[in-house]
Amino acid sequence: MRLFFYLVAAAVVAWQSGTASAAATLEDGFEELVRQARGSEVRWFMWGGSPIINSWVDDYVAGELEERYDITLKRVPADAAIFINKLLTEKQAGRKRGTMDLLWINGENFKNSMENDLLYGPISQRLPHFTLVDPSSVAYDFGYPVQGYEAPYGRAQFVFEYDSATLSEPPDSFIELRQWVQKHPGKFTYPSPPDFTGSAFIRQAFYALTGGHEQYMQEVDRQLYERNAPKLWAYLNALKPYLWQQGRTYPKDVAALDTLFERGEVLVNMSYHQASAQSKILQGRYAPSVRTFVMEEGSIYNTHFTAVPYNAPNLAGALVVADFLLSPEAQLSKNDPRNWGDFTVLELSRLDEEWRNRFKNLDLGSATLSLRQLEKAAVPEIPSGYLELLERDWEKQVLRSR
């Protein structure tokens, strides 16, 4: 009997200590996380298509992490859809210990991850620097509630690009764009959705042609969509015969469109990144006379985030990195167009005077619009339900219509 009692007691103690150590990372203060992360390696899976972003991560971020926290950062380039796919397979196979510590995701990939319980969290409230962010500004990701499962780290806004040496007055509203395109056949096109940028272009036209974004911010309303979408298809079909290659084909992604723009085959380009033109000028890919503009009717912005997989082998390290990315130092360095030009997610009024001034005095470069111009035009992303409908119907109503 006594033996039995000891056994039960031992089991209870073992069970408690087991849960305690598992919960340690969830409840412990940030200092404890920093202590645990020391000397560890963090594998950050992120999109690797931009050399300037890659070198910012490899040089600045990795260097600072090494110095401050003794963390080795390994950047693993991969498209979000591909690593989410890998994570899904790991989940299905029941793998408790994965290979990825931190992910760069947003939008559709975040939704896919949440629907399949692929993420660890909530995490953002545990990051000390998250107090510098206005939580309401990052409550939704393409209409999907974030609930703290991803930590914001940057903001991008949609802009159009043109070379001021060849084009004096860019068409800066959707009505003017149509007139301009019809006058300049073959000099404009957009990447074919579901490419991220091409899809954003049609969403923006959708807002502009149907009376603004406010009506779409709630749940997806099929009737509203059916009523408004034909206006968009009529507009895009009016452009179609005047597009590059008479609209018979579209560049398959924004990189293909960039190439056409670089070579002068099209005169207006677009980017879901307000500082991309400035970076490309600094890289020598674009002429120094390239400028950007936004449409009068508004320009879409979105926030990108970092998230931690459910089976991250180095949870503490991942959280420390996510927090470092939110620090004013990292945010400022990232905001510099020489490094990347990605906008900060911090609420400037939550910073002290000195940091606020540093952000305000940042030279964004002559190709990038001022913060005020961008802010004035900024409109939020559409809930992903609408996005899927638009992408699906674009194929039917525009791509394949004759």
């Binding site: 899904l88 989940k91 896919n112 490419d195 084909t249 398959k252 070579r263």
Partner: protein
């Protein structure tokens, strides 16, 4: 030849098991997911929803027909050109044979490199266009003819023909070199024309290798991804690009549609092989009866 030899099967087992596990396992998951099963956290009420989606509209059939057309045109052209070139080389005096290694260059280029070469050379602002401009043949790149991204598939067909013709040459030449030249000499002495010699004497001898090559090239071009990715147009679009879009770029819940397309492509390829082999056997039998 078709006798069952258990000992052979047993000795092949170490090879067969990984083969069956990888191919069979992948195939099983593809087919199951096309019916909406083992789709992570998603459940589907209608098991045939993906197939219904494919046939509720014409895009899938258009893409499939376009892929079929590109693959067939490219393969037929490559077979004709490759056989002709191999025959021409074979007829050359042997001392020239080592120079013909040049034709093997496209063979070592990956498909994607051929795609990039086409873009660099042929696009409106490409090298040919610049040369034409420098020579004063055209005023600017707008005057350069549209060769790429025309939506007609001609660019894809040309790239496949460039890439596959040397492959046909290597295959055909290998068989030709085993052919007894004295038969040709005899036919010439008896007064056969060159055309007659080629079609009645050499071609029947070459048909087995041509058939094999045809199947390999056709199946590859039909499902190939790299060239369509670089050169393909968005409409109607090759089937492989459609699969890629549904697999990676659209909502995860739509993945069964990609899997259904993969399943259908696989079934089609199998059926194609069976029909092609049947047909070619029948034709060959007819030839022998003559």
């Amino acid at each position: 030849m078709m006798r069952s030899r258990p000992s052979i099967v047993l000795s092949l087992l170490p090879l067969l098991i990984p083969f069956a596990a990888v191919i069979g396992g992948g195939l099983a998951v593809t087919v199951l997911q096309s019916f909406g099963l083992v789709m992570y956290a998603y459940t589907y009420e209608d098991m045939l929803f993906a197939y219904r989606q494919l046939f509720s509209d014409t895009w899938f059939l258009e893409s499939a027909a376009f892929s079929f057309y590109v693959a067939l045109a490219a393969t037929v052209a490559a077979i004709i050109l490759g056989t002709f070139f191999a025959y021409s080389i074979w007829k050359l005096p042997p001392r020239y044979h080592r120079w013909t290694v040049i034709y093997k260059i496209p063979l070592i280029l990956p498909h994607i490199a051929v795609g990039f070469i086409a873009v660099i050379l042929l696009s409106k602002t490409g090298m040919l266009s610049s040369i034409a401009h420098q020579l004063g043949l055209i005023d600017g790149f707008d005057a350069f003819p549209n060769l790429l991204y025309t939506g007609t598939g001609i660019d894809l067909i040309a790239a496949y023909v460039y890439k596959e013709t040397p492959f046909v040459m290597v295959m055909v030449y290998a068989v030709l070199s085993r052919f007894d030249r004295r038969l040709v000499d005899t036919a010439e002495m008896l007064g056969s024309s060159q055309v007659r010699i080629f079609f009645s004497l050499l071609l029947p001898f070459l048909m087995p290798v041509i058939n094999t090559t045809f199947i390999i090239l056709f199946i590859f071009a039909f499902g190939g991804f790299d060239l369509p990715f670089v050169l393909g147009s968005s409409n109607p679009g090759m089937i492989s690009i459609r699969i890629y879009e549904y697999f990676f770029q659209k909502e995860l819940a739509l993945r069964p549609v990609a899997m259904a397309m993969l399943t259908l492509v696989f079934c089609f390829s199998l059926l194609f092989i069976v029909f092609y082999l049947r047909l070619s056997q029948r034709v060959e039998k007819g030839v022998r009866k003559l």
